[in-house]
């Protein structure tokens, strides 16, 4: 069963949104979960993508991804009406949602996509939601409006100051954590290095912090172990034990090394793909 794309849009520099038919996943998914897809069945790799939203009535899920390599570029080339051969999910343990009190949700870059359903669910559970969104520049900031809808307070910043406040997300995060009373819980999703520094901040203020990790995966069901990370000194599988962990216990330095394991090969594959695309364009 392949999955038709029912809507697609570029929503930022190198960032794309699509609505895709996947009725079973739309019905089953919960905040914090992800899918694994491959564009075709013969040679495509399997990549994990977070589920940014779902519409069970329409039988669709929302995917948001950043063009960083061959597969994400290939996806970006697809349009409404095109099909994705394989989507498996929902995978991972859903986010634990409860009424904590005041929560701070920190999103960086593409991390805003998986954070949105979590922030939404936290609000629905009766939490006061403070959202902090960051991006490299204005063109890469996504989902600001939708966060505005679900947040009691929204702080937006860019690294270069091209939009709103010029700051890294750690700066407003420290301010929010420094308030009295401090937030009861933090949820941080974004580039690994950003999550690492955010955790350094929340640790100083003793604010419990949940992070959602995005590692290399093959099957996504616990079978391969390629996604393993060190949490509290012990190996954990992101696909079945996570993707969310206590950010204060994650060995981010090792994780950064592991997700870079195939960097050279990935770059080579992307270059080949781009050249191939150019040739098609010339014909």
């Amino acid at each position: 069963m392949s999955h038709q794309i029912t809507g697609k849009q570029q929503i930022g520099e190198d960032v794309f949104w699509a609505e895709v038919e996947a009725p079973l996943i739309a019905a089953a998914r919960k905040p914090g979960q992800f899918i694994i897809l491959s564009v075709n069945s013969t040679y495509s790799e399997r990549i994990p993508l977070t589920i940014a939203g779902a519409n069970p009535d329409r039988g669709t899920i929302e995917l948001i991804w950043q063009r960083v390599g061959k597969t994400t570029a290939e996806l970006a080339h697809l349009n409404e009406g095109d099909e994705i051969a394989n989507i498996a999910g929902p995978l991972g343990t859903p986010t634990h949602i409860e009424k904590f009190g005041t929560v701070v949700c920190v999103g960086g870059g593409i991390g805003n996509a998986p954070l949105l359903p979590i922030a939404t669910a936290l609000g629905q559970a009766g939490n006061r939601v403070i959202s902090i969104l960051g991006a490299r520049d204005k063109s890469r900031l996504i989902l600001e409006d939708r966060f505005a809808d679900v947040s009691d307070e929204l702080i937006v910043c860019t690294d270069d100051g091209s939009y709103r406040r010029k700051a890294l997300v750690t700066e407003p995060l420290a301010e929010v954590c420094g308030r009295d009373p401090k937030p009861d819980h933090a949820f941080v999703i974004g580039p690994t290095i950003m999550m690492k520094f955010c955790c350094d901040v929340t640790r100083q203020f003793s604010v419990p912090t949940q992070v959602s990790l995005n590692t290399i995966m093959v099957d996504g069901t616990g079978m391969c172990g390629g996604c393993r990370v060190e949490v509290d000194g012990k190996p954990k599988f992101v696909c079945v034990d996570g993707p969310e962990f206590d950010g204060h216990k994650v060995n981010f330095d090792l994780m950064i090394k592991r997700i870079g394991a195939y960097k050279k090969q990935e770059q080579q594959a992307y270059e080949n793909f781009k050249q191939h695309q150019c040739k098609i364009g010339l014909q």
């Binding site: 996943i25 089953a28 999910g89 079978m223 172990g225 390629g226 190996p235």
Partner: protein, 497 residues
Amino acid sequence: MTEEQRKKLLSELLEKKDSGGLKPKDRLAIPPQDMPEQDAAARRGNVSEVALGYTEEQARLEAMRCLQCRNAPCVQGCPVRIRIRDFVAAVADGDYSKALGIIKENSLLPAVCGRVCPQEVQCQEKCTVGLSLKDVSKAVSVGRLERFVADLDQDRATLPAVAPSTGMKVAVIGSGPGGIVAAADTRRAGHDVTVFEAFHKPGGVMVYGIPEFRLPKAIVHDEIETLEKMGVKIVTNFIVGRTRTIERLMTEDGFDAVYIGVGAGLPSFMGIEGESLVGVYSANEYLTRANLMKAYDFGAGADTPIAKSKRVAVVGGGNVAMDSARTAVRLGAEMVYLIYRRTEKEMPARVEEVHHAQQEGVEFHLLQSPKRIIGDADSRVVAVECLRYELGEPDASGRRRPVPIADSEFQIDVDTVIIAIGNLANPLIRQTTPGLEFNKWGNIVVDENCRTSMEGIYAGGDIVLGAATVILAMGQGRIAAAAINDYLATKKQERKT
């Protein structure tokens, strides 16, 4: 022996047999027929099948070595009790379709089992010929004969007969060997059968785990196609427990019975320092990248990368360890070390795979085991530090326990480490199926009919047995299917009244 010599010998033996003069002594004198194989140097550079299969003369000569023992000890050695003596007699007679018919009474996947069963500890271990010649490797090559007759039937023209529709629905979770058999047997009884597979391709371990050079994927593909022709529905990318729970399959989707054959599916690691370094793989990951995702074609079509290793250490002594080591050879590694803490005698791998690995240049490091894995500043593997072992008293498994020798540490320089020490039970079904009984290792508890603690739910294969074999999984699939067919017959009767 040359082809000519074999033809001559075969006609002499047939003549003797027809005149009633073929004595056990003559049969024992027939030279065991070697399996034709790809040259070891050539196969290091390709993924084609290593064992090429018997010629007709070889098959008949090998079959004539069988003494046709009245008590057929070979059958006792077979987990699914194939009438081995009788099918071997049919091969000797040249009646191959009869031979296949006999095998298929008990086994649905002869082309697979002929290739991957550990015959030397099953049927062939009990063979009187091997015992008479005081060498199990000289037993009648039952597996090779099984493969021979199965391969002759490649078009599989005759589909198993399917009974008229019963209106009952069966869900089979997992499309590995157990699931295939459970699906075929329940479908034959006329039930509406759906197989759910988590991966994008069906076949389970036969597709993601066992490499092409040992089990060509075309064979597995044919078996799946046979199921589809019989009317079995195959749904891929469906993760039971996540996409849909077993409870919902039964209450909302109307499945009357469920067979759980999801395999083990959670790789064990050693719990030593350095196992999360870049370049350390579970065998599952390494083999899945290479086999299912075709990483050996990376850059030539395939998108999934795999380490470009020069020096590889594989830890373990089972079939999966051999498969990993031999895959690393084919992916271009210059040195592949197989590290095992006991001796070759205790290795659980099939003898043939051990020999093939050695022929292909895999260097065996026996009575050694990793103590830690060492990385560089970039967290990439640079060496594995091992301890030397000696064998002590036998342990619970009956094998002599390996005991580390103090201060015997030494290092082997490697850039990749593949851990192939087995699998634990995947927790997904356990976490999402309240009410189902599991043992302390996370395996599903079943009775002798593969019935679980919940009505209508049956289970078999690795998720019940722990790590086992294709044939055992297949055997359980068959037992469960028979129990499901009984259960549904009763249920249908109850509905009527």
